[in-house]
């Protein structure tokens, strides 16, 4: 057998030389600690390997080609995973092998990772008008769960009031993640740790007069926690401006592909208040001076709150999560700048309204028609499955099926008026 291309020391000569250097008779010697009764006495039963690269490509392409992707169909699917444009530069930078294949080096040999992530959190800070932003957690669901747990630890209370409509999957995650310490309530009193508002909510509705909720929360000593999508904040007011204490959400919109759900990453942001900073489980990167004037060094801010430092005495846990998506979102924000963020927000708002009007004209019942929507809205029909099947026949992924024959429709700056006209025409035909 030839050496495997991924495993240099499989060659017999190398093996023999290494064993001789160690003074071992065989590799078996090193497994002496594993009792015979626990040893697998047969080869693993796995598919035959494909050791040539072209054969592997052929095999994988055979699988991938069974997919129809959203560049081949006209897709209006959102619900947490959004088809925003991904600038080529985002892929260029996150494909750099220095970033892609690195992990957890020190702030010296991995200075670039620290600076890139510091810049990401700093640009998020500008968008959010907040001074503290974490290195990303897994996804927006996790960020929300942690933001609510932070609020409970901060206030010493154990109830959370949800003041918005949340996707069922996200609610499922929150129910699990807040067990057993935290319960949901519908009554605002002095036992409530946080009011949680999502804006835009699961129907794309932008909440009006959010300051009233902030005031209500603060009047009861609770925190105001707001979930949002940062891509909306070029045009929508940053939650901090109307009283949010913790802001959280997903950054997939900022330069990550949909990747069948693989582009998610979560952010959590607060003001720079020591007691609240102390409740972050995540890593926080900050500037520190070096021995040379004019050099930026970086390091972990307030490390001794994490599970890395304190195991179960730390705040929740920290571990590998979604750092490369943080770097990518930083690249995205640097490319977009303030004007780009304003423009994408305006384009999405206008297209969303146009789609709502078009579908109303097509005979669909648009939910929450008088609200301002960002990117998403739902229609209610008599048979959602039939509608989606009908649209599918016209090569349109019409929307995400919700309960109660509701269909959630998403439009982004990637869509054109023609795309929306095509959807409306197909919906009209299907409902006729």
């Amino acid at each position: 057998m030839n050496a495997h291309p991924y495993i240099p020391n499989t060659g017999p000569a190398t093996r023999t030389a290494m064993l001789a250097a160690i003074g071992a008779a065989s590799i078996e010697d090193f497994y002496a600690g594993i009792p015979a009764g626990l040893r697998l006495q047969r080869p693993l039963n796995l598919p035959a390997p494909i050791r040539d690269e072209q054969g592997l490509i052929r095999h994988m392409k055979g699988l991938l080609n069974q997919n129809t992707d959203t560049t081949e169909a006209l897709s209006f699917l959102g619900a947490g995973c959004y088809p925003h444009h991904v600038p080529a530069v985002c892929d260029e930078i996150n494909g750099r092998s220095e970033f892609l294949t690195a992990y957890a080096g020190e702030p010296y040999e991995d200075h670039g990772r620290f600076q890139a992530l510091f810049e990401y959190v700093s640009m998020m800070g500008e968008l959010l008008d907040m001074d503290v932003v974490n290195v990303p957690v897994y996804d927006g669901y996790q960020a929300t769960g942690t933001a609510l747990r932070m609020a409970c630890r901060y206030t010493g209370r154990d109830k959370v009031l949800l003041s918005c409509q949340i996707l069922p999957d996200k609610l499922s995650k929150l129910r699990d993640y807040l067990t057993p310490d935290i319960e949901f309530t519908t009554v605002l009193d002095d036992s409530v740790a946080a009011i949680y508002l999502e804006t835009p909510d699961m129907y794309g509705v932008v909440a009006r007069n959010p300051r009233l909720l902030a005031e209500a929360a603060h009047a009861h000593g609770a925190l105001f926690v707001v979930g949002t999508d940062p891509i909306s904040l070029g045009v929508l007011a940053p939650p901090a401006s109307y009283g949010a204490d913790i802001v959280c959400g997903d950054i997939q919109s900022l330069g990550m592909h949909q990747s069948f759900g693989g582009g998610q990453a979560g952010f959590i942001a607060t003001h720079d208040e020591e007691r609240l900073v102390a409740e972050f489980p995540s890593r926080l990167f900050g500037i520190a001076p070096t021995a040379v004037a004019g050099e930026y060094g970086f390091g972990d801010v307030y490390y001794d709150r994490t599970s890395f430092a304190l195991r179960e005495e730390g705040k929740e846990w920290v571990g590998t999560a979604a750092a490369l998506w943080g770097i990518t979102a930083g690249v995205y924000l640097a490319l977009m700048g303030p004007e780009g963020m304003r423009e994408v927000g305006e384009t999405v708002l206008s297209l969303t309204r146009y789609a709502m009007t078009s579908l109303t004209d097509a005979g669909a019942t648009v939910l929450h028609p008088n609200e301002i929507h960002f990117r998403e809205f739902a229609i209610a029909v008599s048979d959602a499955d039939a509608l989606l099947t009908s649209l599918r026949a016209e090569n349109i992924f019409g929307g995400v099926r919700l309960s109660g024959n509701e269909v959630l429709i998403c439009v982004t700056e990637r869509h054109t008026r023609d795309d929306i006209d095509r959807l409306a025409s197909a919906v009209k035909g299907a409902l006729a």
Partner: protein
């Protein structure tokens, strides 16, 4: 700067010196905000051509965000420079990040995930349009079932700690379903990853941590004393972060089962035992793998990663949903009867599921066996070299090591005053990573090396030579080592401000407010 005054070397060019004359890229790059010039932009955005939506005052942004304004080349240049000031597996002999299983991530696998057939796939598409993606999920599950011996595997968790959390959530749901919610203790070991303790705490459990006994194994007598009617589960790594495989692992599992608890196996250190021994064979009820460790997906500066939770039959109904089932009508999604619900949005970190599947397909059973055996050979070879360095030692040296070793510089440190962290920073001057260990430092002055199958004998010789050189430097000139680094993008950092609320600067705006002009 001085002019070139030394005569040039003559032909032929002399052989390379024993150690690489490395210097990390030093671009002295400003913070991106300092590169901003008003009116520049990095990318165009389409206009809708539709009337603008007038936003009411209560929800309209008033002040535009102070994001930097750069043209596209300058964004590319800035980030490309930062990337050069970073070391990945592709650049260094990455054996110094023990417990993390740094290995080669095959480039061909990146092609698959950049393909629009993955990158532009939405997770809520009609099932008939994503059969290829679902088949990959299903196939990788079958592979991991065979490797672990477990009944089903969920690929939903976003990383290793998320998989640990998913497992503990299933344990909690299982006991609750059996009317045994009074079980409120989780037992783990000091040489298991800290997330075992931390995740179980989040799920509401009291934590009991077993310390190593005189032989370096988790203390079985301490386990016997700890178990009882309150025991929900044992969360244990094996081999532990010492690199020692606990031969009594089945007894541990049996003891916990004996009191009605569940046994959960953290397989973060599975690389050396693929095809050698399986979780199910030791009686475990749950286990998890890190696809970004053992199964080669790139570590990506700390994620996205992916975790895989394997469970025995009795825990299948509690798996996070949905799972992928194969039917006569193709691949479908199903939610287990007593599912704990969602661990993350949709199915999982699909690109890493694709990469891990392709990696296994390039290796097969025999290749995975090679992975394990060569990782273990490499580890023992490197240990043999490290132990020749004066001042380096291995606790419990008589115990065989599997795929990594936690070493100690205690003797060197006592003799020179140089600490393990400082040796690591100096080692980086020669172009390699080095890590101490998780806290607390049960092994004094620790360092943890894990030379996976990806590294050649020459790589390991180089790494050992670097540590030998730095240890020698520590004896000759400890102050010099303590002053490191010298060959990096930046010089030695003063970290004191990072723990001072008056000074810490977790964003640029906080930095400007506390230390600058804003």
């Amino acid at each position: 700067m001085s002019a070139q005054t030394e005569p040039f070397a003559t032909m032929p060019v002399a052989p390379k010196p024993a150690l690489r004359r490395f210097h990390q890229a030093r671009w002295d790059e400003p913070i991106i905000f300092e590169l901003s010039q008003p009116g520049r932009r990095g990318i165009g955005v389409p206009e809708s051509g539709l009337p603008e939506v007038e936003l009411p005052e209560d929800i309209r942004r008033v002040n535009r965000p102070a994001l930097p304004e750069l043209s596209q080349l300058h964004v590319v240049r800035h980030y490309t420079r930062l990337s050069q000031e970073n070391l990945g597996v592709d650049l260094n002999v990455d054996v110094g990040q023990g417990t993390c299983t740094m290995k080669y991530s095959p480039k061909v696998n990146d092609i698959f995930v950049r393909d629009a057939k993955i990158a532009e796939l939405h997770p809520a598409q009609p099932l008939d349009s994503v059969q290829g993606a679902l088949e990959i999920y299903w196939r990788l599950e079958q592979i991991l079932k065979e490797i672990s011996g477990m009944s089903r595997v969920s690929l939903q968790p976003g990383a290793g700690s998320a998989a640990i959390y998913a497992n503990i959530a299933m344990i909690r749901a299982y006991h609750a379903a059996n009317g045994e919610s009074h079980r409120d203790q989780v037992i783990t070991t000091m040489f298991s990853h800290p997330s075992n303790a931390a995740c179980a705490k989040v799920a509401g459990y009291d934590i009991i941590t077993l310390m190593p006994d005189a032989d370096g194994f988790p203390d079985i007598e301490a386990l016997k004393a700890a178990i009882g009617p309150r025991t929900a589960a044992l969360l244990i790594t094996n081999p532990e972060d010492t690199g020692i495989y606990n031969p009594q692992i089945k007894e541990f599992v049996d003891l916990v089962h004996g009191v009605g608890g569940l046994a959960c196996y953290d397989q973060a250190n599975a690389n050396g035992i693929l095809g050698i021994t399986r979780a199910a064979d030791a009686g475990f009820d749950l286990c998890h793998f890190n696809l970004h460790k053992t199964f080669s997906t790139p570590h990506a500066c700390g994620g996205p990663a992916a975790g895989a939770c394997g469970v025995a039959e009795k825990l299948v109904p509690f798996l996070p949903g949905p799972v992928v089932d194969k039917t006569d009508n193709g691949f479908v999604l199903a939610t287990p009867a007593h599912s704990i619900g969602k661990i993350r949005p949709y199915l999982g970190v699909t690109p890493n599921v694709v990469r891990a599947y392709a990696w296994v397909m390039a290796l097969g059973a025999e290749g995975l066996r090679d992975v394990a055996e060569i990782a273990v050979l490499n580890n023992n070879y490197l240990m043999h070299k490290i132990l020749r360095i004066p001042g380096a030692s291995v606790p419990w040296a008589d115990k065989p090591r599997v795929e990594q070793v936690r070493y100690s510089w205690q003797e060197l440190s006592e003799q020179t005053g140089v600490h393990s962290e400082e040796i690591g920073v100096r080692a980086a001057d020669f172009g390699v990573h080095y890590w101490t260990s998780h806290h607390p430092y049960v092994v004094a002055e620790p360092f943890t090396l894990e030379p996976t199958e990806s590294y050649s004998k020459e790589d390991l010789d180089e790494y050992a030579a670097i540590l030998a050189h730095v240890a020698d430097e520590a004896r000759r000139d400890p102050a010099f080592v303590k002053g490191a680094p010298y060959n990096q993008s930046i010089h030695k950092i003063d970290p004191t401000s990072l723990d001072d609320p008056q000074q810490w600067s977790p964003t640029w705006r906080a930095y400007q407010r506390k230390h600058g002009a804003r």
